[in-house]
């Protein structure tokens, strides 16, 4: 039997390893195959997830897509300070969400369905949110401010869930730490960035494929409770674990396990959840074709070229952005400042310097 008689004969090039990458520039290698829906520049897009998800937000802003941010700093706050307090990093000020369980519990907390027993980490004169411990430098100086800010945050999460048209989530980890009391999952091990680790109260968990699938399905159900048409795009972060809590495993093996679980979970979720699709940014960065070229010197951080490759394929397959624009994607695209507030502020700042000068040079005290 010749190869032309097999089911492979009619398959396109992307199905064959050799044809998928041979004689192609790295940036032309495209494992996406086809987009599942179209995103316009009016589509409200919300993001959440691990560190890698921040890149998605950055490119959406730069390419003038409708990056949906529901928790913004007040206009008197400058973009730099707002960024340092993690406004605009994601659609709401939740910081990195590494696991599906953390995402689900965020939605449950925002909807008033879950109130963790571990409510705040009191660090002397500072108050840390256990579920977003790095959200602002040094934490909150007052408990009242913390509580008020958390309520604003929950409202912003609810609005994001209710109004976004596309929710992009980047799965980061399967390993997590949780409360033994009520299962509340922390983004970071207590003690790493606030709080104090207590083996009587905290335990390690390494989520399985089924748990990831169940948690994410439960989240999507909550998301679509008031927003039934919301589409979901899933990615897996190509960033390796910084550390594993499993003493019997190398972090290299633990990373392989964790990413494999997440990748399989995405495959399963795509199968069982309507309008919930996987985008292969993980493969674009980690695939053999890249020969590790997209990683920085620490072999962990993804460099800008890698992010550009991912985002250009997203733009090509999911948007109507012209090809020349896709190719011209800026390599470094800082989050765009709010033009009105920033402009007015700069104008006042400039003018105030001028008036100070004018008054001293020309003015006479009125005594």
């Amino acid at each position: 039997m010749s190869r032309s008689d097999t089911p492979y004969a009619s398959l396109p090039d992307h199905c064959f390893w050799s044809r998928s990458h041979r004689d192609r520039d790295l940036m032309d290698i495209d494992p996406v195959v086809a987009g599942h829906f179209r995103v316009t520049q009016e589509t409200r897009i919300a993001t959440a997830g691990s560190c890698f998800a921040q890149h998605v937000a950055r490119y959406l802003v730069d390419e003038e897509f409708n990056y949906f941010v529901t928790e913004t700093a007040h206009p008197v706050i400058s973009p730099d300070v707002a960024r340092s307090f993690n406004y605009g990093t994601f659609s709401a000020r939740y910081g990195n969400i590494y696991t599906a369980r953390q995402l689900l519990q965020l939605a449950q907390r925002a909807r008033g369905l879950f109130k963790p027993a571990e409510d705040v980490w009191d660090a002397g004169e500072r108050f840390i949110d256990p579920y977003r411990p790095a959200i602002q430098p040094g934490g909150f100086s007052r408990r009242d401010d913390y509580i008020a800010d958390r309520e604003r945050h929950y409202a912003a999460v609810r609005r994001m869930m209710d109004e976004t048209e596309l929710f992009v989530f980047t799965f980061g980890l399967t390993e997590a730490w949780r409360s033994k009391v009520d299962g509340a999952v922390f983004p970071l091990c207590p003690g790493v960035s606030g709080g104090r680790f207590d083996a009587r109260k905290h335990e390690f968990v390494n989520f399985t494929v089924q748990q990831v699938v169940d948690d994410f399905r439960a989240f999507v159900a909550l998301l679509r409770q008031n927003n039934p048409d919301c589409k979901v795009l899933m990615t897996v972060s190509p960033v390796p674990l910084a550390a594993t809590a499993r003493a019997d495993r190398s972090v290299i093996s633990a990373t392989a396990y964790s990413k494999a679980v997440l990748r399989v979970a995405c495959e399963e979720l795509e199968r069982v959840v309507k309008d919930c699709v996987y985008f292969p940014s993980y493969e674009i960065i980690t695939g053999q074709h890249a020969r590790g070229a997209y990683y920085g010197d620490d072999l962990r951080e993804v460099d800008e070229a890698g992010v550009l490759h991912v985002m250009s394929l997203f733009m090509r397959h999911y948007t109507d952005l012209p090809e020349d624009r896709i190719k011209a994607l800026a390599l470094t695209a800082p989050l765009r400042d709010r033009p009105v507030a920033a402009g007015r502020r700069a104008e006042i700042e400039r003018a105030m310097r001028l008036i100070c000068d004018e008054e001293l040079i020309e003015g006479k005290p009125n005594t």
Partner: protein, 264 residues
């Protein structure tokens, strides 16, 4: 031997320039060689430049400060630099009115306005202070080995009518958005001063303004200049002798032998 004092400043220095003239004419500044150095002369502008996104003093400014330090050989320095930057936030109302709690000062927010987290507005003011007033203070501390009095700007003027009649640079924004309530202006000013106070360490000494220049925290009427944020020469006449007196004490303190704790 006269005490040698050099004061550096921008628009708020004008009150001291006037005071120096009138006090010296009246023989009311004995025992001091006071030099007031204006850093907002046309040839020195802009005094602050941005390099790679970082605010730095211009070469013209740093040359001017170094030259005058060499020329005057001061024993103490007064920093009256900048000090209006907090008004970027404080002066005019915003389309989304804001306020903030400051429980330690027993200052509470008007809850009908957006209540900003204290840490957030403090961080914002700290950025403004760091790239304006404190930029000068740090440079002075790096280039002058004696005591430096960090003199805060005068308190805000609490009278809306005066500001509306003399809106200066804020005219357009006040016309468009109105004025922030005086309580918010004062609270932002106080927080800004708190930031300056926290930044004053070692030889840099935050100078607490005397109570007599204020009424309920606001700049006392009669000390207002015909501008939205500046004090007049009378204000300078009140402060200047006190500043020189404080400088004299700080110079003496710095010169006093430090006790080693050892028994002779």
């Amino acid at each position: 031997m006269d005490l040698r004092v050099t004061a550096y400043g921008h628009s708020h220095l004008s009150a001291y320039l006037h005071a120096k003239r009138s006090l010296e004419a009246a023989g009311a500044l004995p025992g001091v060689a006071l030099s007031l150095v204006r850093l907002n002369l046309p040839e020195l502008l802009p005094g602050i430049e941005y390099r790679d996104g970082e605010a730095v003093l211009s070469e013209a400014i740093t040359r001017r400060i170094r030259f005058t330090l060499r020329r005057d050989q001061p024993e103490a320095v007064l920093s009256v630099n900048m000090g209006n930057e907090y008004n970027i936030i404080a002066m005019h109302a915003h389309p989304e009115p804001f306020d903030f709690h400051w429980p330690e000062m027993d200052l509470h927010a008007d809850k009908s306005r957006t209540v900003l987290p204290f840490d957030l507005i403090k961080a914002e003011l700290a950025v403004l202070a760091n790239r304006n007033t404190l930029l000068y203070v740090r440079f002075l501390a790096e280039n002058f080995a004696g005591p430096i009095l960090l003199v805060p700007p005068p308190p805000p003027i609490g009278d809306d009518d005066h500001i509306r009649a003399n809106p200066g640079v804020f005219a357009n924004n006040i016309a468009a958005y109105g004025l922030n309530p005086p309580e918010v202006r004062l609270k932002v000013y106080m927080l800004y001063c708190q930031i300056l106070r926290e930044a004053a360490t070692g030889r840099v000494i935050y100078y607490d303004l005397p109570h007599q220049i204020a009424e309920a925290g606001y700049l006392k009427k009669g000390l207002w200049y015909s501008a939205p944020t500046h004090a007049n020469g009378e204000y300078g006449e009140i402060l200047l002798p006190k500043l020189i007196d404080r400088a004299r004490r700080e110079v003496a303190r710095a010169a006093a032998p430090q006790s080693s704790g050892a028994t002779p």
